[in-house]
């Protein structure tokens, strides 16, 4: 361990850079000029990026067997020994340690890389916003937490990062805190995440109580040593608890409700936190602990089902949204669903791969959407857009590429990752595949609905914002272009075998996925033949293109159709349009109940505690003090005043002399002098005679 | 003269003679300084100035004096007669008294006190009473305000000016004016080159002490009609006037003695006779200068419009010719005489140069506001003077301890002082409670 190459040995620097600048920003950022702020923050993130790249190369320089490096800074919580559930004695140690392996490596590359691009973008996007330094301070704080999360070498430290990103997401959603909806959204995100985090924390406790360790590297061996059978209920419990946390952080059913509201935050934040990085933390975490999941098929099933349903569900809601960012938000949810589907069917690497590509094109989508909003001066409603393709060409083309990518058109990144997942899903279970397949079609439909409503057709832009429409500054366009390129070629990292590729990426990651002993492996369906795979691809391509054409028909050719359809399916449309009334349901079920509880407690506090306890005591104290007051006034003070009076009487003659007149004092002095001289003269007289 | 009378008598007679000369010449001098002032002002304002009385107004001062003496002498009732009468006398007496210790030449000095400088300072500081009492006695608000301002201003700037002088005193190592000049002769350099900043401070201070523009607030005609002189007229007024100009000459004299080498001519300590003769070029210079003036007068004489003016101009020329003759004659007399006469010439030349600067400032700078004045005095000049003093003392000590050229050390000291000056000028904030009470 101690003979690590430079970058691997200095892992801890990667999160340190953003932390440092964040501290600078939050402590004395107010006095810095926007220029300095931009340079500092972007610079620090860029440094982290350089270090990450360095770490990456030094990592793949190693033979694929031991591609893992750990750097422990210090022992963080040495909590001593305790009894495990099965009575064994274990020593609880949570050290402040960093661990890098292909998984973390991919994550930090995504985080720092995309993060850097988004920083650049933000310098342009936030240029005219107040609280510039505050924004970047939070952003860098987020970078720090996210890097801690992905670099942590134990669950507890990961949890620190987990909470950190939660906090930053809260701060950044509520960035325009003077807007009520924004602060509410922030609070909502925070609270909903609390639910998930509670689950996650319980999971951690259970893990340490069951396995006696929380270090990732030791979890696998501990499982093996513990000799847990597949489907062991305790393992399932841990896995499910973890997954509760994951649903909270990465917005899965039932805890997805906060993500759409989170769009109140500035667009770069939506891009970085709520599309590219933070919301994928759940996926990362599940993958990170896949050793546990693989021991519990039930949990895997739950994960897969939740993912698939979420994907479909969210996609259906995305179809009817009119707010450009809301559409993207729901699409994010649905894509995250894909990732969990992948994890659920055991294709963790495919999940991570989709995570990466998704980071590219969804980040791009958000940034492009931000650029559009920027262009039409803050308008977010797609019904007030249209025919922008010629006015802001760069944004248009980049966004089009992103849309193609997410829809999964052939050589784009989205196609490859998504079809990887669908293929695995098909191997596992046809139903899951069907859901994912259908969702892919809907994805294509609503993405191109977005594209067409925004860029094509007749212009529905308001008049006052009509003519100032302009392309965004360079600082915003450059990241767009870079991300566009990435979302084209990003997928080629793991070019499928059937096209003569050899999926490097998958192999690179595969060392992370613990391979259960063959004995325990449950038999999977035979590997689908190349033809089968190709056939699946054709099928999905066909559906995707169909979706695109449908969108074209509805929103370019016959723009009157959508309303007709909406009317004909009135009830269902309203149901979907109101997001299945999930928010109202939650309000009725939890929020209002919580309020009632609070009111009841408040009443109790007022009536019982204040009324009887405090006021009673107060009354008692008053009574006693009255008594002592009387004593003080008449007895104690009385005696004092008596003494004072006596002194006053006796001091009267002295006061006669002290009349406050300077000159009478001087007269007294003179009298004294005369006395002295008289005395001395008398003595001298005697001395002489 | 020395061989006419026995020295014992001479010791008594000569000072009286000098005193008489000074008292006799001073009013004339003052009058002509006024003429020069008006001429310079006119020139700077592209005018001609007095031209009527005498050629180029040469006789203007006499006319003014006559006018002043013939004007009615008014004493406002409700005025405090005793003090009203006393004040101008105090003013002018103190002004004249100061001349007692001023060495106009190596011999031309009434009394060479060994505390001469202090004496002059003391006496000229007594001059305040003339102004203050006069302002109070005339029982008028303008006068009182002028007097108060004057008192505050003088007390404040005496401190700065005195500190400025001390830097030169350190170099001379004596309080006697004569010894100071001789010290400059021995060291072969005027002290202004050692302590330029001290000179600057003293110059500003002296302008303020003589109530000249830009520090002429006590008699700021735009604010207080004529300050403490408002109620005065005729002869008493002219006494004040005389005192003011006498004071100008005094401060100029002090500056000349301490900083500009007194009666010494430039390069006094380097003697190189002209080839063939025993005359030095620089000694010949004065007579040539005056001769030039004389010739110019003769050249102008015929151009005058009126006959009388022709005559007067010619007489002026003749006067200059005589002076030139005397100066030239001194070249061949005994060195003592030469020193005496030329010393007087150089001394007066320097004094008038200094006074010319006064005039120049007056016509160049706008008047200060009172709080600005006080701030300049207390927050800039006095600290600067203190720093300058310490720096100079350090330089002297350094030369005494480690040897080396004093000039070098003093240059260093001046650099330091300059830095401090810049610092002071920079952080001199606007609010200023006028610190009158600590006049000590």
């Amino acid at each position: 361990m101690n003979a690590q190459p430079f970058f691997l040995d200095h892992l801890w620097l990667i999160p340190l850079f953003p932390l440092a600048t964040a501290a600078v920003m939050l402590f004395c950022g107010r006095r810095l000029s926007n220029n300095i702020v931009s340079w500092l923050c972007s610079g620090s993130v860029f440094l982290s990026f350089i270090f990450s790249v360095g770490a990456f190369f030094q990592l793949i320089a190693k033979p694929s067997g031991e591609r893992i490096a750990t750097k422990v800074l210090f022992e963080w919580i040495p909590a001593g020994t305790y009894h495990l559930l099965d009575g064994r004695i274990a020593k609880f140690i949570a050290d402040w340690g960093f661990q890098i392996d292909p998984l973390s490596c991919v994550m930090i590359l995504i985080v720092t890389g995309v993060g850097f691009l988004i920083h650049i973008y933000s310098t342009g996007y936030m240029a005219h916003e107040g609280g510039y330094y505050r924004f970047f301070g939070y952003l860098n704080l987020f970078m720090f937490s996210m890097l801690m999360l992905v670099l942590a070498n134990n669950l507890l430290l990961l949890f620190v990062g987990w909470e950190g990103v939660g906090t930053c997401s809260y701060l950044l959603i509520g960035f325009y805190f003077h807007k009520k909806s924004a602060s509410d959204a922030g609070k909502k995100a925070f609270i909903v995440n609390r639910v998930g985090d509670a689950g996650f924390l319980l999971g951690i406790f259970l893990t340490s109580a069951l396995l006696g360790t929380i270090r990732f590297v030791e979890i696998g061996p501990a499982l093996a040593a513990g000799g847990f059978a597949i489907g062991d209920p305790r393992i399932t419990a841990i896995a499910l608890l973890f997954f509760v946390g994951a649903t909270g952080k990465s917005a899965q059913i039932p805890l997805y409700v906060w993500l759409p509201d989170a769009m109140e935050g500035p667009t770069p934040v939506s891009a970085l936190i709520h599309a590219a990085t933070m919301v994928t933390a759940g996926v990362y975490m599940v993958t990170r602990t896949n050793a546990i999941y693989q021991l519990s098929p039930k949990a895997m099933g739950v994960v897969a089902l939740t993912g698939a349903v979420t994907a479909l569900f969210a996609a259906s809601m995305g179809v009817v949204q009119n707010d450009i960012k809301k559409v993207l938000a729901y699409s994010t949810v649905s894509q995250l669903g894909y990732m969990f589907l992948a994890c659920g069917v055991g294709a963790f690497t495919a999940g991570i791969f989709h995570l990466m590509t998704h980071a590219f094109f969804k980040g791009l989508l958000f940034l492009a959407a931000g650029s559009v909003i920027h262009a039409v001066s803050g308008e977010q409603d797609m019904r007030k857009m249209g025919a922008l393709s010629t006015k802001i060409p760069v944004t248009y083309w980049t966004m089009l590429i992103a849309a193609l990518a997410i829809a999964g058109i052939f050589p784009f990144a989205g196609f490859i990752s998504k079809d990887l997942i669908l293929g695995k899903a098909y191997e596992k279970d046809a139903l899951l595949w069907a859901i994912g397949y259908f969702t892919a079609g809907m994805t294509a439909f609503y993405m191109f609905r977005l594209i067409f409503m925004t860029f094509h057709g007749a212009s529905r832009v308001d008049h006052e914002v009509e003519h100032p429409i302009h392309e965004s500054p360079k600082s915003m366009l450059v990241p767009l272009v870079i991300l566009a390129v990435l979302s084209v070629v990003g997928g080629w990292l793991s070019w499928p075998e059937i096209f003569g590729g050899n999926s490097h990426f998958i192999h690179f990651l595969s060392t992370v996925v613990a391979v259960p002993h063959e004995a325990r492996m449950e038999p999977v369906k035979g590997p689908s033949s190349a033809h089968g795979e190709l056939f699946l691809m054709m099928l999905s391509e066909g559906l995707v293109i169909l979706g695109i054409l449908f969108a074209w028909l509805l929103y370019v050719k016959r723009t009157d159709l959508p309303n007709k359809i909406a009317h004909s399916f009135g009830g269902f449309y309203r149901l979907v349009y109101n997001k299945y009334y999930v928010d109202q349901l939650y309000d009725a079920l939890f929020v209002n109940r919580a309020k009632d509880l609070g009111l009841a407690l408040g009443a109790f506090d007022r009536r019982v505690i204040d009324g009887v306890g405090v006021n009673g005591a107060g009354w008692l104290a008053r009574a006693i003090s009255k008594l002592s007051m009387w004593w003080d006034t008449w007895i104690v003070d009385g005696s004092v005043r008596l003494g004072a009076r006596i002194v006053w009487i006796f001091s009267y003659p002295v006061r006669l002399i002290q009349d406050g007149l300077v000159q009478s004092y001087m007269l007294l002095i003179v009298i004294g002098l005369i006395g002295f001289f008289g005395y001395y003269l008398y003595m001298a007289h005697h001395a002489i005679h | 003269m020395s061989h006419l009378l026995p020295p014992s008598i001479l010791r008594l007679v000569l000072p009286v003679f000098y005193a008489v000369v000074i008292v006799a010449v001073l009013p004339l001098l003052a009058g002509y300084i006024v003429l020069v002032e008006r001429k310079v002002m006119a020139d700077m304002q592209a005018r001609l100035g007095p031209m009527r009385v005498g050629p180029h107004g040469l006789l203007q001062p006499i006319a003014d004096a006559v006018k002043l003496l013939l004007k009615e002498d008014i004493i406002p009732d409700k005025a405090d007669r005793l003090l009203f009468w006393l004040a101008p006398l105090v003013s002018v007496t103190m002004a004249l008294l100061a001349y007692a210790a001023l060495p106009i030449g190596p011999a031309f000095q009434i009394a060479d006190l060994n505390i001469g400088l202090l004496f002059i300072l003391a006496v000229s500081s007594l001059g305040i009473y003339g102004i203050v009492l006069g302002g109070w006695a005339s029982n008028s608000h303008y006068s009182l305000l002028g007097a108060l301002r004057s008192a505050a201003q003088l007390v404040s700037y005496e401190t700065a000016a005195g500190l400025g002088l001390i830097s030169a005193l350190l170099l001379a190592g004596s309080l006697s004016m004569k010894d100071i000049v001789i010290a400059q002769y021995d060291q072969g350099i005027w002290f202004i080159f050692y302590v330029p900043i001290g000179f600057f401070i003293y110059m500003v201070g002296s302008i303020a002490e003589t109530n000249r523009a830009p520090f002429d607030l006590p008699e700021a005609e735009s604010e207080l009609v004529a300050g403490y002189m408002t109620e005065y007229s005729g002869f008493r007024w002219s006494l004040y006037f005389l005192a003011e100009y006498a004071n100008m000459i005094i401060v100029a004299g002090i500056a000349t003695t301490l900083f500009l080498g007194g009666w010494l001519r430039p390069f006094a300590s380097s003697h190189t006779a002209l080839p063939g003769t025993s005359i030095e070029l620089l000694d010949a210079l004065p007579s040539l200068l005056v001769l030039g003036v004389a010739l110019y007068c003769f050249y102008l004489a015929p151009k005058q419009p009126v006959k009388i003016q022709k005559m007067v101009m010619a007489m002026a020329g003749g006067l200059c010719l005589i002076i030139a003759g005397v100066l030239a004659g001194a070249l061949f007399a005994s060195p003592a005489v030469l020193q005496g006469i030329h010393g007087a010439f150089w001394f007066l030349a320097k004094v008038f140069t200094y006074i010319y600067f006064f005039l120049w400032f007056r016509f160049t700078f706008p008047r200060y506001r009172f709080d600005q004045l006080m701030r300049l005095g207390w927050r800039f000049l006095i600290p600067l003077a203190l720093v300058n003093l310490i720096a100079t003392a350090t330089a002297l000590l350094a030369t005494r301890e480690w040897g080396g050229s004093l000039l070098l050390y003093t240059l260093l000291a001046d650099a330091v002082t300059l830095a401090v000056a810049i610092f002071l000028a920079k952080n001199d904030e606007v609010d200023s409670a006028v610190p009158v009470m600590d006049g000590e």
Partner: protein
């Protein structure tokens, strides 16, 4: 050659006058000036004796006394100014708040 005691007479006279002034005048400023007078009387003594003993210590003390006089005058007059601003009077026997 004036004998020393004449200086003492002089200083005694000035001292007495000063004391009378201090004790009897109502105007605070006059009182202060009388004090200055007393200090002066002392100075005369010092100078006389210093000359008598032929060393300058007495004069040095006199200088110190003058310094004290300066300080006293500055502070005293400052107090008088402040008092005058508040009470509009200069009479010593109206300044009698400092009692009991």
């Amino acid at each position: 050659m004036v004998p020393v005691d004449h200086y003492l007479w002089l200083s005694l006279a000035l001292f007495t006058i000063g004391v009378i002034g201090v004790l009897t005048r109502r105007n605070v400023i006059i009182i202060l000036m009388s004090i200055e007078l007393i200090l002066n009387a002392v100075n005369i003594n010092l100078v006389a004796f210093s000359h008598m003993f032929g060393n300058v210590d007495g004069q040095v003390f006199a200088i110190f006394i003058i310094t004290d006089a300066a300080a006293e005058a500055a502070v005293g007059l400052g107090i008088i100014l402040a008092f005058f601003r508040n009470r509009e009077t200069l009479l010593a026997d109206e300044m009698d708040m400092l009692k009991w």
